[in-house]
Point group: C2
Chain length 370, copies 2
């Protein structure tokens, strides 16, 4: 990513300060932090931040601790790096002084209650006092529309994933353990030009495939049963996500029918989705087909989700939280039918929404035509 892009993102954020009623924005969410500063550190744990950004109209600070100082200086070249020694909340006073902060916007969808309370206490004791203003998903929204450089990286991420899945399918044999197949996927990802996995690969066979978020087990895969392979990797921080359901040998007609329905639901969504459509409508295209076939109760999750620096990000392409789909959004289309104790089928592609519809970024191959 060129430096120019990061300057543009900061300008875009700053142009919103007036309408948000803030003079300083505090960013702590790791992907938002990377998006604005290029500081690549992730947070070790939910309650362990590797850094905060504080952005005003003319200043940009990155507050971190000594473990990350050098990395921050190397990566976040538009930011002045400050190292705190007494914990994040104890450094806030100095930050408010330096930045002349009066109205501090914070990420309401990310800041933990405790830290919010501590910040509020510091803010009220500061002279002059600082007001805290919840920003909700302001940077998350900026991240929804992908720029050309992001689309390029996401395409590469999606292509590599297709290659990995194609190779695994080629090697798949009855008697292999789910765990071993998952490890083979990790090894193949490692052999690509990728940062690593975006999430632990899912390999779920037979009854395990009825669990949308199955964890690979010692179970040996068999002929005729559904085997779900759900794989994501990262290239330059950008995630992919792709799923195939495979049968070795001849599946029972019951699963052939389910597969056919899921694929039909997916193809319909791929063909139907347009710029300006609401997410709930996009979801219902696929869901209605599954409902009509009598499997409505067995498709519990959303049709898809946005993807970028995070494996799951806005927009949520589902029945809740309606949002308008826009040009440049990248998301998954992944209908599924899950029959408890029997098994499930999920098919997932990653797409970008363009002027005249979606373009599939994953391979669009390796489907059965039952």
């Amino acid at each position: 990513m060129s430096q120019f892009i990061f300057e543009n993102r900061l300008s875009s954020l700053r142009s919103k300060f007036d309408s948000l009623g803030v003079d300083t924005v505090w960013i702590i969410q790791p992907e938002n932090r990377r998006y604005l500063s290029f500081f690549k550190a992730t947070d070790g744990q939910l309650n362990e931040s590797s850094g905060s950004l504080f952005i005003t109209m003319d200043q940009a600070l990155l507050l971190t601790d000594s473990r990350y100082t050098i990395q921050a200086q190397e990566e976040a070249v538009d930011f002045e790096v400050i190292t705190h020694k007494q914990g994040l909340s104890n450094a806030l006073f100095e930050i408010f002084d330096r930045l002349n902060t009066r109205r501090l916007g914070f990420e309401g969808n990310y800041l933990v209650w405790d830290l919010y309370e501590k910040a509020k206490e510091r803010a009220s004791k500061h002279s002059p006092p600082v007001e805290l203003i919840a920003l909700s998903a302001i940077v998350d929204e900026m991240r929804e529309i992908k720029g050309p450089e992001e689309v390029e990286v996401l395409s590469r991420s999606a292509q590599l994933t297709g290659d990995v899945i194609a190779q695994v399918i080629k090697e798949l044999r009855p008697g292999q353990a789910e765990k071993d197949v998952a490890w083979r996927i990790e090894t193949l990802i490692r052999e690509q030009d990728a940062d690593g996995v975006a999430f632990p690969p899912i390999v779920a066979s037979g009854p395990n495939s009825a669990l949308p978020h199955a964890i690979p087990t010692d179970r040996l895969i068999r002929e005729g049963e559904p085997i779900i392979l759900d794989v994501g990797l990262k290239v330059d921080g950008y995630c992919s996500d792709m799923t195939r359901t495979i049968f070795l040998g001849n599946p029972p007609s019951y699963f052939k029918e389910i597969y056919h329905i899921v694929r039909e639901a997916q193809v319909s969504a791929l063909e139907y989705i347009r710029v300006g459509m609401k997410t709930a409508e996009a979801d219902s295209v696929a869901r209605d087909i599954i409902k009509k076939a009598g499997f409505g109760d067995f498709f519990g999750h959303s049709l898809g989700h946005g993807i970028g620096l995070a494996p799951h990000e806005r927009p949520a392409v589902g029945p809740l939280k309606p949002e308008v789909l826009q040009e440049g959004m990248v998301f998954t289309i992944e209908p599924g039918i899950y029959i408890p104790e029997k098994g499930g089928v999920r098919l997932e592609e990653m797409v970008i929404l363009e002027k005249d519809g979606v373009r599939v970024l994953t391979t669009n191959k390796n489907f059965f035509a039952f």
Copy 2:
């Protein structure tokens, strides 16, 4: 873990209800959830919960979505599993009704501000209204003192890590890339009886070893420079964490001296720490040695951290947040000296605090005696 243990943990939590002034406790932190219910799901992302526990004096509910229903039923046998379809916050009304909730304790150190606000709104609109009470680290505190079954698993986790590090050291040669060594570590972890990594392995050579949280790069390791190997894995959900600094060939006397100081600081802490000591005092034993040697400015992090279901958990063994060390606590002792642009040395063992001092759970081998 036997079912008996989980019943005990629930009883122990319930015995605190009176003093906390709550009739229902809401648990959303993944490790706390697992600790109380044995539901093993992790959260995909910071803002994507795979489930909440709601515990009263006589009921125990696990609220999840359809992706996790089956897994929750299989694992959390003491809990009644409820599947929400309209999002977590929309299910709260029904939960309050069912449990007759008036005073709801929540995890202040974990709940995100947005979700807290939503819950507060639902709580105030409920009839009768529900009051929200911040619990801070109530279950985190229970997790600090490890039971015998936990110590057994943590010992195994630590031992396997020692085996992995010993094997990697044996294979280490000049010209290997940091990334390839890190992948070799992942492969060795995979070949053990382990769940997987507790965190991505750190392999940091030469100047990169000056970054405490370095990410493995394409850099080729060389003779005479410090090479930090920091490895953690999981066994039955329990984490390990161990670090060695290796030199191939003969290091310059500068790094020999630094190594000697770090090891002396570590050994002193291992010998000095006792039950009843404050964490800040434990930290200062090691820190004073490093300070006296003139490297005080180059040891920026804490001496260690608790470890268990999470790689980092209470107690924080550092200069801030003083806490009394107690029998049964498991934590790391990991002093380090990091010279920017030159390199660093860190040595880390995992210990359990027993009646008469600490016992090292990791191997206590593979140190240099310069």
